[in-house]
Protein backbone atom coordinates (compact mmCIF):
# COMPACT_ATOMS: atom_id res chain seq x y z
CA UNK A 1 0.00 0.00 0.00
CA UNK A 2 2.88 2.32 0.86
CA UNK A 3 4.06 2.09 -2.73
CA UNK A 4 0.72 1.58 -4.47
CA UNK A 5 -0.99 4.71 -3.09
CA UNK A 6 1.55 7.23 -4.47
CA UNK A 7 1.53 5.35 -7.80
CA UNK A 8 -2.27 5.50 -7.94
CA UNK A 9 -2.31 9.23 -7.06
CA UNK A 10 0.30 9.82 -9.77
CA UNK A 11 -1.68 7.78 -12.32
CA UNK A 12 -5.04 9.49 -11.67
CA UNK A 13 -3.70 13.04 -11.36
CA UNK A 14 -1.48 12.57 -14.44
CA UNK A 15 -4.37 11.23 -16.51
CA UNK A 16 -6.76 13.91 -15.23
CA UNK A 17 -4.42 16.82 -16.08
CA UNK A 18 -3.89 15.36 -19.56
CA UNK A 19 -7.56 14.58 -20.28
CA UNK A 20 -9.12 17.76 -18.81
CA UNK A 21 -7.59 19.72 -21.67
CA UNK A 22 -10.10 18.06 -24.03
CA UNK A 23 -13.19 18.43 -21.77
CA UNK A 24 -14.36 22.07 -21.67
CA UNK A 25 -17.03 21.33 -19.00
CA UNK A 26 -17.46 23.80 -16.12
CA UNK A 27 -17.10 21.13 -13.38
CA UNK A 28 -13.90 19.79 -14.92
CA UNK A 29 -12.47 23.30 -15.16
CA UNK A 30 -13.24 23.94 -11.49
CA UNK A 31 -11.58 20.67 -10.52
CA UNK A 32 -8.60 21.60 -12.71
CA UNK A 33 -8.30 25.03 -11.03
CA UNK A 34 -8.42 23.32 -7.60
CA UNK A 35 -5.77 20.86 -8.76
CA UNK A 36 -3.50 23.76 -9.73
CA UNK A 37 -3.87 25.28 -6.25
CA UNK A 38 -3.02 21.90 -4.69
CA UNK A 39 0.09 21.85 -6.86
CA UNK A 40 1.12 25.23 -5.43
CA UNK A 41 0.63 23.84 -1.90
CA UNK A 42 2.76 20.80 -2.78
CA UNK A 43 5.50 23.12 -4.11
CA UNK A 44 5.36 25.09 -0.85
CA UNK A 45 5.90 21.89 1.13
CA UNK A 46 8.79 21.07 -1.19
CA UNK A 47 10.46 24.32 -0.06
CA UNK A 48 10.02 23.28 3.60
CA UNK A 49 11.50 19.88 2.73
CA UNK A 50 14.42 21.52 0.92
CA UNK A 51 15.22 23.85 3.84
CA UNK A 52 14.97 20.89 6.26
CA UNK A 53 17.28 18.85 4.07
CA UNK A 54 19.78 21.74 3.84
CA UNK A 55 19.82 22.16 7.63
CA UNK A 56 20.22 18.39 8.22
CA UNK A 57 23.09 18.19 5.68
CA UNK A 58 25.06 21.03 7.25
CA UNK A 59 24.36 19.87 10.81
CA UNK A 60 25.84 16.47 9.88
CA UNK A 61 28.94 18.19 8.45
CA UNK A 62 29.31 20.26 11.61
CA UNK A 63 28.82 17.24 13.86
CA UNK A 64 31.52 15.27 12.01
CA UNK A 65 33.71 18.35 11.62
CA UNK A 66 34.03 17.37 7.95
CA UNK A 67 36.22 19.32 5.53
CA UNK A 68 34.82 22.85 5.06
CA UNK A 69 32.63 22.69 8.18
CA UNK A 70 33.24 26.41 8.69
CA UNK A 71 31.22 27.16 5.55
CA UNK A 72 28.40 25.02 6.92
CA UNK A 73 28.43 27.13 10.07
CA UNK A 74 28.19 30.34 8.02
CA UNK A 75 25.37 28.85 5.90
CA UNK A 76 23.35 27.80 8.95
CA UNK A 77 23.96 31.08 10.78
CA UNK A 78 22.88 33.09 7.71
CA UNK A 79 19.82 30.91 7.10
CA UNK A 80 18.62 30.92 10.68
CA UNK A 81 19.54 34.59 11.13
CA UNK A 82 17.44 35.64 8.14
CA UNK A 83 14.51 33.44 9.26
CA UNK A 84 14.56 34.97 12.77
CA UNK A 85 15.00 38.56 11.48
CA UNK A 86 12.31 38.08 8.84
CA UNK A 87 9.89 36.65 11.41
CA UNK A 88 10.55 39.45 13.91
CA UNK A 89 10.78 42.50 11.64
CA UNK A 90 8.78 41.38 8.59
CA UNK A 91 9.96 41.62 5.00
CA UNK A 92 8.44 44.93 3.97
CA UNK A 93 10.54 47.80 2.55
CA UNK A 94 12.59 49.44 5.29
CA UNK A 95 12.67 46.34 7.50
CA UNK A 96 16.00 44.94 8.68
CA UNK A 97 15.36 41.82 6.57
CA UNK A 98 14.89 43.94 3.45
CA UNK A 99 17.96 46.06 4.25
CA UNK A 100 20.11 42.94 4.69
CA UNK A 101 18.77 41.53 1.43
CA UNK A 102 19.39 44.70 -0.59
CA UNK A 103 22.73 45.62 1.00
CA UNK A 104 24.33 42.22 1.64
CA UNK A 105 22.82 39.47 -0.52
CA UNK A 106 22.31 41.56 -3.67
CA UNK A 107 25.91 42.93 -3.89
CA UNK A 108 27.40 39.56 -2.94
CA UNK A 109 25.49 37.62 -5.61
CA UNK A 110 26.03 40.35 -8.22
CA UNK A 111 29.78 40.27 -7.46
CA UNK A 112 29.91 36.50 -7.85
CA UNK A 113 28.18 36.79 -11.22
CA UNK A 114 30.36 39.77 -12.22
CA UNK A 115 33.54 37.73 -11.67
CA UNK A 116 32.37 35.51 -14.54
CA UNK A 117 33.13 38.35 -16.97
CA UNK A 118 36.85 37.99 -16.26
CA UNK A 119 36.86 34.22 -16.74
CA UNK A 120 34.72 34.45 -19.90
CA UNK A 121 37.17 37.00 -21.35
CA UNK A 122 40.13 34.75 -20.58
CA UNK A 123 38.33 31.62 -21.87
CA UNK A 124 37.24 33.37 -25.10
CA UNK A 125 40.82 34.47 -25.73
CA UNK A 126 42.08 30.89 -25.41
CA UNK A 127 39.17 29.02 -27.01
CA UNK A 128 38.51 31.08 -30.13
CA UNK A 129 41.50 29.97 -32.19
CA UNK A 130 41.21 29.02 -35.86
CA UNK A 131 42.67 25.53 -35.30
CA UNK A 132 40.37 23.76 -37.79
CA UNK A 133 37.58 24.58 -40.26
CA UNK A 134 34.90 24.03 -37.60
CA UNK A 135 36.80 26.16 -35.08
CA UNK A 136 37.17 28.90 -37.71
CA UNK A 137 33.39 28.89 -38.31
CA UNK A 138 32.80 29.15 -34.55
CA UNK A 139 35.35 31.94 -34.32
CA UNK A 140 33.74 33.92 -37.15
CA UNK A 141 30.23 33.50 -35.71
CA UNK A 142 31.39 34.54 -32.24
CA UNK A 143 33.33 37.47 -33.69
CA UNK A 144 30.27 38.80 -35.56
CA UNK A 145 27.93 38.31 -32.61
CA UNK A 146 30.34 40.08 -30.28
CA UNK A 147 30.68 42.96 -32.71
CA UNK A 148 26.90 43.24 -32.99
CA UNK A 149 26.73 43.36 -29.18
CA UNK A 150 28.80 46.57 -29.20
CA UNK A 151 26.14 49.27 -29.05
CA UNK A 152 27.62 51.77 -31.52
CA UNK A 153 28.34 49.05 -34.11
CA UNK A 154 24.61 48.58 -34.72
CA UNK A 155 24.36 52.36 -35.12
CA UNK A 156 27.25 52.95 -37.50
CA UNK A 157 27.34 49.53 -39.24
CA UNK A 158 23.77 48.18 -39.26
CA UNK A 159 24.81 45.40 -41.67
CA UNK A 160 26.75 43.73 -38.86
CA UNK A 161 23.53 43.51 -36.86
CA UNK A 162 21.73 42.13 -39.94
CA UNK A 163 24.33 39.37 -40.35
CA UNK A 164 24.29 38.59 -36.60
CA UNK A 165 20.50 38.46 -36.69
CA UNK A 166 20.66 36.04 -39.64
CA UNK A 167 23.04 33.83 -37.68
CA UNK A 168 20.58 33.71 -34.80
CA UNK A 169 17.45 33.40 -36.92
CA UNK A 170 18.69 30.70 -39.32
CA UNK A 171 21.60 28.38 -38.40
CA UNK A 172 21.36 28.85 -34.62
CA UNK A 173 17.58 28.52 -34.63
CA UNK A 174 17.71 25.36 -36.76
CA UNK A 175 19.93 23.76 -34.13
CA UNK A 176 17.81 25.13 -31.27
CA UNK A 177 14.64 23.76 -32.82
CA UNK A 178 16.20 20.31 -33.20
CA UNK A 179 17.25 20.40 -29.54
CA UNK A 180 13.77 21.56 -28.49
CA UNK A 181 12.07 18.72 -30.37
CA UNK A 182 14.41 16.25 -28.68
CA UNK A 183 13.87 17.75 -25.23
CA UNK A 184 10.08 17.86 -25.48
CA UNK A 185 9.75 14.38 -26.99
CA UNK A 186 11.95 13.12 -24.15
CA UNK A 187 9.81 14.98 -21.61
CA UNK A 188 6.64 13.48 -23.10
CA UNK A 189 8.07 9.95 -23.03
CA UNK A 190 9.32 10.32 -19.44
CA UNK A 191 5.97 11.80 -18.34
CA UNK A 192 4.07 8.83 -19.81
CA UNK A 193 6.46 6.41 -18.10
CA UNK A 194 5.97 8.19 -14.74
CA UNK A 195 2.16 8.31 -15.08
CA UNK A 196 2.02 4.59 -15.95
CA UNK A 197 4.37 3.69 -13.08
CA UNK A 198 7.14 2.36 -15.33
CA UNK A 199 9.59 5.03 -14.18
CA UNK A 200 9.60 5.07 -10.35
CA UNK A 201 12.81 6.96 -9.58
CA UNK A 202 10.75 9.88 -8.20
CA UNK A 203 9.59 7.68 -5.29
CA UNK A 204 13.18 7.39 -4.03
CA UNK A 205 14.56 4.42 -2.13
CA UNK A 206 16.25 2.70 -5.08
CA UNK A 207 14.21 -0.01 -6.85
Amino acid sequence: MKRRLPLLICLFSGLFFAIQFFIPHQEVRLLYADGLRWLIVVYTFAIVLAVGSLIAHHLRKLHRQAKGWGYSLVTLAALLGMIVIGSLTGIRPGSLFNKLFLNVQVPMQATMFGILAFYIASAAYRAFRARSNEATLLLLAAFLLMLSAVSFMSYFFPRITTVAEWLLMVPSMAAQRGILFGVFLGTLATSIKIILGIERGWMGGGR
Partner: protein, 286 residues
Amino acid sequence: MNDLLIKLAKIDRRYIFLFVAIAVIIPLLFPLNFPTRATPHTKAVFDIIDQIPPDNNPILISFDYGPSTMPECHPMAYAILRHAFSRKVRAIGVTLASDAAGLGEEAMRNVAREYGREYGRDYAFLGFKPGGSAVILSIGEDIKKTFPQDFYGKPTAEIPMLTEVKNYNQISLVIPLTGSATATAWIIYAGTRYHARVADGVTAVMAAELYPYLQTKQLSGLLAGLKGASEYEHLVKEAGYSEGARRASRGMDALSTMHLVIIAFIILGNIGFFLSRRSAKKGERT
Protein backbone atom coordinates in the same frame (compact mmCIF):
# COMPACT_ATOMS: atom_id res chain seq x y z
CA MET B 1 57.86 41.71 -33.82
CA ASN B 2 56.85 38.13 -34.64
CA ASP B 3 58.22 36.94 -31.31
CA LEU B 4 56.21 39.58 -29.50
CA LEU B 5 53.00 38.48 -31.26
CA ILE B 6 53.75 34.82 -30.49
CA LYS B 7 54.25 35.79 -26.84
CA LEU B 8 50.94 37.65 -26.91
CA ALA B 9 49.23 34.41 -27.94
CA LYS B 10 50.26 32.98 -24.60
CA ILE B 11 49.72 36.05 -22.44
CA ASP B 12 49.15 35.49 -18.71
CA ARG B 13 45.44 35.66 -17.97
CA ARG B 14 46.04 38.20 -15.20
CA TYR B 15 46.87 40.79 -17.88
CA ILE B 16 43.55 39.98 -19.55
CA PHE B 17 41.79 40.47 -16.22
CA LEU B 18 43.55 43.84 -15.83
CA PHE B 19 42.48 45.05 -19.29
CA VAL B 20 38.91 43.83 -18.73
CA ALA B 21 38.78 45.67 -15.38
CA ILE B 22 40.00 48.90 -17.01
CA ALA B 23 37.53 48.49 -19.90
CA VAL B 24 34.67 48.10 -17.42
CA ILE B 25 35.61 50.70 -14.80
CA ILE B 26 36.40 53.67 -17.07
CA PRO B 27 33.01 53.83 -18.88
CA LEU B 28 31.24 53.38 -15.55
CA LEU B 29 33.09 56.35 -14.06
CA PHE B 30 33.01 58.48 -17.21
CA PRO B 31 29.94 57.57 -19.33
CA LEU B 32 30.76 57.45 -23.03
CA ASN B 33 27.14 57.65 -24.21
CA PHE B 34 27.59 55.40 -27.22
CA PRO B 35 24.76 55.75 -29.74
CA THR B 36 22.53 52.73 -30.23
CA ARG B 37 19.78 51.49 -32.51
CA ALA B 38 16.96 49.20 -31.36
CA THR B 39 16.57 45.73 -32.88
CA PRO B 40 13.12 44.80 -34.30
CA HIS B 41 12.49 42.49 -31.31
CA THR B 42 13.03 45.30 -28.78
CA LYS B 43 10.97 47.69 -30.90
CA ALA B 44 8.15 45.12 -30.97
CA VAL B 45 7.89 45.15 -27.14
CA PHE B 46 7.98 48.95 -27.11
CA ASP B 47 5.27 49.18 -29.79
CA ILE B 48 2.91 46.83 -27.95
CA ILE B 49 3.09 48.85 -24.72
CA ASP B 50 2.91 52.07 -26.71
CA GLN B 51 -0.39 50.98 -28.25
CA ILE B 52 -2.12 50.03 -24.98
CA PRO B 53 -4.70 52.73 -24.22
CA PRO B 54 -4.19 54.53 -20.86
CA ASP B 55 -6.05 53.07 -17.84
CA ASN B 56 -6.98 50.03 -19.90
CA ASN B 57 -6.11 46.35 -19.31
CA PRO B 58 -2.85 46.22 -17.33
CA ILE B 59 0.44 44.58 -18.27
CA LEU B 60 1.74 41.78 -16.05
CA ILE B 61 5.45 41.83 -15.24
CA SER B 62 6.94 38.71 -13.69
CA PHE B 63 10.16 39.59 -11.89
CA ASP B 64 11.76 36.14 -12.15
CA TYR B 65 15.37 37.17 -11.58
CA GLY B 66 17.58 37.16 -8.51
CA PRO B 67 20.48 39.39 -7.54
CA SER B 68 22.91 37.47 -9.79
CA THR B 69 21.07 38.35 -13.02
CA MET B 70 19.85 41.68 -11.68
CA PRO B 71 22.38 43.82 -13.65
CA GLU B 72 20.76 42.67 -16.90
CA CYS B 73 17.10 42.29 -15.89
CA HIS B 74 16.58 45.12 -13.38
CA PRO B 75 17.23 47.92 -15.93
CA MET B 76 14.63 46.24 -18.20
CA ALA B 77 12.09 46.44 -15.37
CA TYR B 78 12.82 50.13 -14.84
CA ALA B 79 12.66 50.98 -18.56
CA ILE B 80 9.38 49.09 -19.12
CA LEU B 81 7.78 50.52 -15.99
CA ARG B 82 8.83 54.06 -16.94
CA HIS B 83 7.30 53.59 -20.37
CA ALA B 84 4.09 52.11 -18.94
CA PHE B 85 3.62 54.59 -16.07
CA SER B 86 4.42 57.62 -18.23
CA ARG B 87 1.56 56.53 -20.52
CA LYS B 88 -0.77 55.67 -17.59
CA VAL B 89 -0.64 52.00 -18.52
CA ARG B 90 -1.38 50.01 -15.38
CA ALA B 91 0.94 47.21 -14.21
CA ILE B 92 0.69 44.10 -12.06
CA GLY B 93 3.88 42.61 -10.62
CA VAL B 94 4.39 39.00 -9.56
CA THR B 95 7.44 36.80 -9.05
CA LEU B 96 8.17 33.10 -9.30
CA ALA B 97 11.66 33.48 -7.78
CA SER B 98 11.87 33.73 -4.00
CA ASP B 99 14.81 36.15 -4.07
CA ALA B 100 13.15 38.51 -6.56
CA ALA B 101 10.30 39.83 -4.43
CA GLY B 102 12.41 42.60 -2.88
CA LEU B 103 13.78 43.64 -6.29
CA GLY B 104 10.40 43.71 -8.02
CA GLU B 105 8.77 45.64 -5.20
CA GLU B 106 11.61 48.19 -5.20
CA ALA B 107 11.39 48.74 -8.98
CA MET B 108 7.61 49.20 -8.98
CA ARG B 109 7.60 51.49 -5.94
CA ASN B 110 10.46 53.70 -7.23
CA VAL B 111 9.10 54.18 -10.74
CA ALA B 112 5.55 54.71 -9.45
CA ARG B 113 6.90 57.47 -7.19
CA GLU B 114 8.70 59.10 -10.17
CA TYR B 115 5.42 59.34 -12.10
CA GLY B 116 3.05 59.88 -9.19
CA ARG B 117 1.24 56.57 -9.70
CA GLU B 118 -0.91 55.27 -6.89
CA TYR B 119 -0.73 51.75 -5.42
CA GLY B 120 -3.91 49.78 -5.98
CA ARG B 121 -5.22 52.12 -8.66
CA ASP B 122 -2.31 52.20 -11.14
CA TYR B 123 -0.19 49.27 -10.04
CA ALA B 124 -0.12 46.29 -7.70
CA PHE B 125 2.63 43.97 -6.55
CA LEU B 126 1.42 40.50 -5.62
CA GLY B 127 4.78 39.11 -4.51
CA PHE B 128 6.20 35.58 -4.62
CA LYS B 129 4.28 32.36 -5.07
CA PRO B 130 6.08 29.00 -5.25
CA GLY B 131 5.04 26.59 -7.96
CA GLY B 132 6.54 27.83 -11.23
CA SER B 133 4.42 26.55 -14.10
CA ALA B 134 1.51 25.73 -11.73
CA VAL B 135 1.32 29.43 -10.82
CA ILE B 136 1.41 30.47 -14.48
CA LEU B 137 -1.45 28.06 -15.25
CA SER B 138 -3.37 29.09 -12.14
CA ILE B 139 -3.26 32.78 -13.14
CA GLY B 140 -4.97 31.66 -16.34
CA GLU B 141 -7.89 30.45 -14.23
CA ASP B 142 -8.09 33.19 -11.59
CA ILE B 143 -5.32 35.58 -10.57
CA LYS B 144 -7.01 36.58 -7.29
CA LYS B 145 -7.40 32.95 -6.19
CA THR B 146 -3.76 32.31 -7.11
CA PHE B 147 -2.65 35.35 -5.10
CA PRO B 148 -5.29 35.82 -2.35
CA GLN B 149 -3.05 38.54 -0.80
CA ASP B 150 -0.59 41.03 -2.28
CA PHE B 151 3.02 41.48 -1.15
CA TYR B 152 1.92 43.73 1.73
CA GLY B 153 -0.73 41.30 3.00
CA LYS B 154 -3.74 43.14 1.61
CA PRO B 155 -6.48 40.90 0.13
CA THR B 156 -6.28 41.14 -3.67
CA ALA B 157 -10.10 41.21 -3.85
CA GLU B 158 -9.90 44.66 -2.21
CA ILE B 159 -7.39 46.12 -4.70
CA PRO B 160 -9.37 48.43 -7.04
CA MET B 161 -7.34 47.83 -10.21
CA LEU B 162 -7.78 44.06 -9.86
CA THR B 163 -11.57 44.10 -9.64
CA GLU B 164 -11.87 43.83 -13.41
CA VAL B 165 -8.94 41.45 -13.81
CA LYS B 166 -9.76 37.75 -13.57
CA ASN B 167 -7.17 36.06 -15.79
CA TYR B 168 -5.02 36.58 -18.89
CA ASN B 169 -8.07 37.72 -20.88
CA GLN B 170 -7.90 41.04 -19.03
CA ILE B 171 -4.12 41.42 -19.33
CA SER B 172 -2.65 43.29 -22.32
CA LEU B 173 0.83 41.83 -22.20
CA VAL B 174 2.75 39.36 -20.04
CA ILE B 175 6.44 40.24 -19.63
CA PRO B 176 8.61 37.78 -17.70
CA LEU B 177 12.03 39.22 -16.88
CA THR B 178 14.29 36.30 -16.16
CA GLY B 179 17.57 34.49 -16.45
CA SER B 180 16.01 31.06 -16.09
CA ALA B 181 13.75 28.53 -17.84
CA THR B 182 10.63 30.35 -16.64
CA ALA B 183 10.98 32.42 -19.86
CA THR B 184 9.89 29.34 -21.83
CA ALA B 185 7.30 28.31 -19.20
CA TRP B 186 5.45 31.62 -19.62
CA ILE B 187 5.41 31.17 -23.43
CA ILE B 188 4.14 27.58 -23.21
CA TYR B 189 1.63 27.90 -20.36
CA ALA B 190 0.43 31.52 -20.50
CA GLY B 191 0.88 32.01 -24.25
CA THR B 192 -0.02 28.69 -25.85
CA ARG B 193 -2.47 27.38 -23.22
CA TYR B 194 -4.29 30.64 -22.40
CA HIS B 195 -3.52 32.68 -25.54
CA ALA B 196 -1.89 35.48 -23.53
CA ARG B 197 0.39 37.83 -25.42
CA VAL B 198 3.93 37.22 -24.11
CA ALA B 199 7.14 39.23 -24.57
CA ASP B 200 10.27 38.10 -22.73
CA GLY B 201 13.13 40.05 -21.21
CA VAL B 202 16.03 37.66 -20.66
CA THR B 203 19.76 37.57 -20.02
CA ALA B 204 21.85 37.76 -23.21
CA VAL B 205 23.08 34.20 -22.81
CA MET B 206 19.47 32.91 -22.96
CA ALA B 207 18.28 34.91 -25.96
CA ALA B 208 19.32 32.41 -28.67
CA GLU B 209 17.09 29.75 -27.05
CA LEU B 210 14.02 31.91 -27.57
CA TYR B 211 14.41 32.68 -31.28
CA PRO B 212 12.28 29.67 -32.35
CA TYR B 213 9.37 31.17 -30.37
CA LEU B 214 9.90 34.55 -32.02
CA GLN B 215 9.66 33.00 -35.47
CA THR B 216 6.45 31.15 -34.61
CA LYS B 217 5.05 34.40 -33.11
CA GLN B 218 4.47 32.65 -29.77
CA LEU B 219 6.71 35.41 -28.48
CA SER B 220 5.65 38.93 -29.42
CA GLY B 221 8.98 40.59 -28.66
CA LEU B 222 12.27 40.05 -26.88
CA LEU B 223 14.65 42.16 -24.81
CA ALA B 224 17.99 40.38 -25.03
CA GLY B 225 20.27 41.16 -22.10
CA LEU B 226 21.68 44.52 -21.15
CA LYS B 227 21.72 45.53 -24.82
CA GLY B 228 17.96 44.97 -25.05
CA ALA B 229 17.45 47.01 -21.89
CA SER B 230 19.61 49.86 -23.20
CA GLU B 231 17.76 49.81 -26.54
CA TYR B 232 14.46 50.01 -24.68
CA GLU B 233 15.76 52.95 -22.60
CA HIS B 234 16.82 54.61 -25.84
CA LEU B 235 13.32 54.16 -27.34
CA VAL B 236 11.66 55.48 -24.17
CA LYS B 237 13.93 58.51 -24.17
CA GLU B 238 13.56 59.11 -27.92
CA ALA B 239 9.76 59.09 -27.57
CA GLY B 240 10.08 61.68 -24.80
CA TYR B 241 8.58 59.50 -22.06
CA SER B 242 11.46 59.59 -19.60
CA GLU B 243 14.68 61.39 -18.83
CA GLY B 244 15.29 59.17 -15.80
CA ALA B 245 18.62 57.56 -14.94
CA ARG B 246 19.58 55.31 -17.84
CA ARG B 247 21.29 52.56 -15.90
CA ALA B 248 21.30 50.06 -18.81
CA SER B 249 22.90 52.52 -21.23
CA ARG B 250 25.66 53.21 -18.72
CA GLY B 251 26.22 49.49 -18.24
CA MET B 252 26.11 49.00 -22.01
CA ASP B 253 29.01 51.45 -22.46
CA ALA B 254 31.10 49.26 -20.16
CA LEU B 255 29.92 46.07 -21.87
CA SER B 256 30.73 47.49 -25.32
CA THR B 257 34.28 48.47 -24.37
CA MET B 258 34.72 45.05 -22.74
CA HIS B 259 33.57 43.34 -25.93
CA LEU B 260 36.06 45.40 -27.93
CA VAL B 261 38.87 44.39 -25.54
CA ILE B 262 37.92 40.71 -25.89
CA ILE B 263 37.75 41.04 -29.69
CA ALA B 264 41.20 42.67 -29.69
CA PHE B 265 42.61 39.82 -27.57
CA ILE B 266 41.02 37.21 -29.84
CA ILE B 267 42.59 38.85 -32.91
CA LEU B 268 46.00 39.07 -31.21
CA GLY B 269 45.70 35.50 -29.99
CA ASN B 270 44.96 34.23 -33.51
CA ILE B 271 47.78 36.22 -35.11
CA GLY B 272 50.17 34.81 -32.53
CA PHE B 273 48.73 31.33 -33.07
CA PHE B 274 49.28 31.47 -36.85
CA LEU B 275 52.79 32.87 -36.50
CA SER B 276 53.79 30.21 -33.98
CA ARG B 277 52.30 27.49 -36.23
CA ARG B 278 54.21 28.85 -39.21
CA SER B 279 57.50 29.01 -37.32
CA ALA B 280 56.89 25.44 -36.05
CA LYS B 281 56.36 24.24 -39.65
CA LYS B 282 59.54 26.03 -40.75
CA GLY B 283 61.39 24.33 -37.92
CA GLU B 284 60.10 20.92 -39.07
CA ARG B 285 61.30 21.57 -42.66
CA THR B 286 64.80 22.62 -41.54
